[in-house]
């Protein structure tokens, strides 16, 4: 019982919110590409360059906000290359995404060594993080006030973006266009929507949020940059995107699960459990969730396949492609 009390309390909730924010930002970014029908494995790399250039920008200018802008700009550059190769040159998205991740890893370490002469991590050098936001009048709310106040601004942004994106996909013209392009490209074409333009837009929006996620990692979550500091969060975000299908609310739930397992595993470390095992927990949670939910979605996939085959047979039009079992594998 005492162990449970040590594990579960308000500070755990606060820790969960803290650990959820970076992965939530990057996963919400990925929802744009997922909804537009692009499988974006390059989130990891975009987040990493975002974190790195946020630190560089902050050190160069003295302002963490300029740093955030630099991080976002770097992630956008990567997103633009991704879109150029995948959308315009029709390259394989897995190949391009992986290559960009490798590029991000190599580039950040090379530049770190060239600029600071060190390998491993950057801190000091006048690096300042984003200031925590103290909400007014929270003292009266007791533990609840404690729970919602004092985070860095990008944490609030991450959670506010969830309802914003729900509205965006259901109400905004661009959001609807993105969904049409992802779900029914033929229909989008028939409606006169430029698939290319929408996919570029989605990729860049994704880069924007992935860059913010990276900036949050190096200026909010911590105040430093370490080699490969995104440590698989981009990949976990992709796992979440697969089973959430890019829906913001499901993304939030998935990210809270990860944030919680992350926060809990940090606690477990204080109980003397090997840090190697503890560090593996979030990845294991991601894997189990991925497998469990793909098992659960199986009947739906089969139904969809049957329904779409029926549609394809009755329509007898070669402009609409039948969606068969292979298409159902898409994330």
């Amino acid at each position: 019982m005492e162990v449970l009390e040590r594990l579960l309390n308000v500070t755990l909730v606060i820790a969960t919110i803290r650990t959820t924010a970076p992965i939530l930002l990057v996963a919400l970014g990925g929802s744009f590409t997922t909804k537009a029908g692009i499988f974006n494995i390059g989130l990891e790399g975009q987040m990493l360059v975002g974190a790195f250039f946020a630190v560089i920008g902050t050190i160069a200018s003295g302002s963490p906000w300029i740093g955030v802008l630099c991080g976002v700009a770097a992630a956008l550059t990567l997103a633009l290359i991704f879109a150029l190769l995948v959308v315009t040159f029709k390259a394989n998205e897995v190949v391009v995404g992986l290559a960009l991740n490798i590029l991000a890893g190599g580039m950040t370490v090379s530049l770190m060594k060239a600029i600071f002469g060190t390998r491993g991590s950057i801190f000091g050098h006048g690096l300042v993080g984003l200031p925590p936001l103290k909400l007014p009048n929270v003292k009266d709310l007791g533990w609840f006030g404690q729970m919602i106040s004092g985070y860095t601004p990008l944490v609030y942004l991450a959670f506010i973006l969830v309802p914003v994106l729900i509205l965006f996909y259901n109400r905004a013209r661009l959001g609807l266009y993105i969904r049409v392009v992802g779900e029914k490209p033929e229909a989008a074409e028939a409606l006169g929507i430029s698939i290319t333009r929408i996919r570029y837009t989605a990729s860049l929006l994704c880069g924007l949020l992935a860059g913010l996620a990276g900036a949050h990692l190096s200026l909010g979550y911590t105040t430093m940059f370490t080699e490969n500091m995104s440590s698989g969060r981009g990949f976990m975000a992709v796992a979440i995107l697969i089973f959430s299908n890019g829906d913001p609310l499901k993304i939030l739930l998935g990210c809270l699960l990860f944030g919680f397992s992350d926060a809990l595993s940090l606690r477990l470390q204080t109980l003397g459990i090997s840090s190697y095992l503890v560090l593996a927990v979030p990845y294991l949670v991601a894997l189990i969730a991925l497998f469990a939910l793909s098992y659960r979605s199986r009947p739906r996939v089969i139904q969809e396949t049957l329904a779409s085959m029926g549609r394809a047979l009755s329509v007898k039009s070669n402009t609409i492609k039948p969606r068969t079992a292979t298409d159902a594998s898409k994330p």
Partner: protein, 347 residues
């Protein structure tokens, strides 16, 4: 034939373009590109020892590359070769130091353990990919992180060499993979890799089952109509790929390190994946791309000594090359674009 020449020409042009971009990157880190390239060449091929060193680096990249080729052929992405390599290396080491057996038998058993460990590590992602179409790109990537942490945990908490840092006891000499020359740790692993490349090439071009795999990679719907059991074949292809990934770890453990330690084989699995991508999933082509990346790796060791550039600059060059040729890499599966069907695919 002219088609093949065209693609070779385009590939070469793309690589030159990437090297040009790489030169620009080197300029941004305040080094002379010419000096970096000369140092890389010198480090990779400057003396017999260095050539052996290059081949030593080539070996795991080649074997991992073949593992990747097998999955690419079937239109699947095993990105978890790094994890399979770690599990294979750990299993081979475990057998290597805990049993006392006659020489050849011991080596064979340790190798078998590596292969089984690699297969076991991909079994669950493979099963879910085959049965429920769970995206194997993500599941195998996530499994990498788990494998690296798990082997570190086992090494440090259960099998640590008394008095040592984070490493296991050394394996017995009866399980050593013999060295080829006296002046280098270069070993029979290279021969295994070359034979494997030829065997896999033969399998894909000369056997019915190999043809079925290529067929599945090229056009799964068509293959299914042709009577191929896609689920079963998907599982087998991924398991075979994992087996070769595990073998790469066994070769590294039994041939080079003779023990398992933290950071056992950094990045060989990923280098293998990109070597196979650059060769467009062709096992024979992978021999050359693995040699290229092995030379880059080997050369980069001298790079750190002789210039101010870091060895990660070669990772940047590798990534640029893949980006430059990516539009020509014709692995069929595009995970979500329903217009992908028209794309050319030629393995």
């Amino acid at each position: 034939m002219s088609d093949r020449f065209d693609s070779l020409f385009g590939q070469t042009l793309a690589i030159l373009f990437a090297l040009g971009l790489g030169a620009l990157v080197i300029l941004t880190v305040d080094e002379s590109p010419a000096r970096v390239f000369v140092t890389l060449l010198n480090g990779a091929f400057g003396s017999p020892e260095r050539i052996a060193g290059t081949l030593l680096q080539t070996t795991p990249i080649l074997i991992c590359g073949i593992a990747a080729c097998i999955s690419f052929r079937g239109g699947l992405f095993n990105i978890g070769i790094e994890g399979q390599l770690f599990m294979g290396g750990f299993a081979a080491t475990l057998v290597g130091f805990s049993f006392n057996l006659p020489p050849v038998l011991h080596l064979a058993l340790a190798m078998a353990a590596a292969i089984v460990a690699g297969m076991a590590w991909i079994a669950i992602p493979a099963f879910f990919r085959a049965r429920y179409k769970t995206n194997e790109v993500v599941s195998t990537i996530l499994a990498n992180y788990v494998a690296i942490l798990l082997t570190s945990y086992l090494t440090i908490n259960w099998f640590k060499r008394p008095g040592g840092q984070s490493e296991t006891p050394p394996i017995l000499e009866s399980a050593y993979l013999p060295e080829l020359f006296s002046f280098s740790r270069l070993n029979w692993g290279l021969i295994i890799g070359l034979v494997l490349a030829l065997a896999v090439h033969f399998f894909f071009t000369r056997t019915a089952r190999g043809y079925a795999v290529s067929e599945m990679g090229a056009n799964p719907k068509f293959a299914e109509y042709g009577g191929i059991n896609i689920g079963k074949l998907t599982f087998l292809v991924l398991i075979a790929s994992g087996a070769v990934g595990g073998l790469a770890g066994g070769v590294e453990a039994l041939g080079v390190h003779h023990r398992f330690m933290e950071g056992f084989a950094p990045g060989f699995g990923f280098d293998g994946v990109i070597a196979a991508l650059l060769a467009n999933g062709h096992p024979i082509g992978t021999i050359f791309t693995a040699l290229f990346f092995g030379a880059l790796r080997s050369g980069s060791l001298l790079l750190e000594v002789d210039t101010t550039a870091s060895r990660e600059i070669i990772t940047v060059i590798q990534a640029l090359i893949i980006l430059a040729v990516s539009a020509q890499i014709t692995i069929r599966r595009k995970a979500s674009d329903s217009t992908a069907g028209e794309r050319r695919w030629k393995f």
